[in-house]
Symmetry: C2
Subunit: 133 residues, 2 copies
């Protein structure tokens, strides 16, 4: 997980999205415990309530189950559920907007998608940065 936050979305939603990404990437498998509310809060220097709120979203989506005194655990079937739901959400809401932006900027989706397919999933970084001493 990254240690920084984006100002374009509330922290609790970004937190939710990160866990989702970890599930999809297989970093968190079904049955695994989530990092504890307190730990996450400490590590990212965020209020425990904010972390809880992010986690609660996952509970509401039935991706995660909470066991008091024990922790929060990835539900069985979570990854499949996510793949379906997130795909649909992405195609219906995000991609149309992104695609419009791409055309507006005179870029081509094809090039972006191809150029990126060659890279490893880790290297999702644009080379805007010059080397620094």
């Amino acid at each position: 997980m990254d240690r920084e936050w984006n100002d374009s979305q509330p922290i609790y939603r970004q937190l939710r999205d990160r866990v989702v990404a970890m599930i999809l990437d297989g970093v968190l498998k079904e049955g695994d415990p989530l990092p504890s509310v307190r730990n996450v809060a400490a590590e990212y220097r965020v209020n425990p309530l904010t972390v809880l709120k992010g986690y609660q979203q996952l509970v509401d989506e039935q991706l995660v189950e909470s066991r008091r005194g024990l922790g929060m655990f990835i539900n069985a079937g979570a990854r499949n559920l996510l793949l379906k739901a997130e795909r649909q959400k992405f195609l219906a809401e995000e991609w149309p907007r992104v695609s419009a932006t791409i055309q507006r900027l005179g870029l081509t989706a094809k090039e972006l998608l191809n150029g990126d397919a060659a890279r490893s999933p880790e290297t999702s970084n644009a080379d805007e940065e010059k080397k620094k001493p």
Copy 2:
């Protein structure tokens, strides 16, 4: 312009983005006046101050000039400025995130391009490919 708002970003920023889109699309040309603060506020049922805040962003970016008593006008060179700035921002900030999501969801270029092939002049790609194994 659309009449609805997204809950994922503040209204004033969405407003700014819409004007930017209109400039890039050539709906608003250099020298043209923006729709007036009061009109927009009325049409979208939003507070005038919120509209002003969105417009002020454009002024701060030097895309728009404000003439008291007259209105706000698209600056000369605004489109060029935007193309550069927005491209860089998109490639550096948005695309990496989107691209990661695409891979995470196991979506393919083909799937994504088909949906809006109708819009893009580039995407007249009648290629055939193997169905998934």
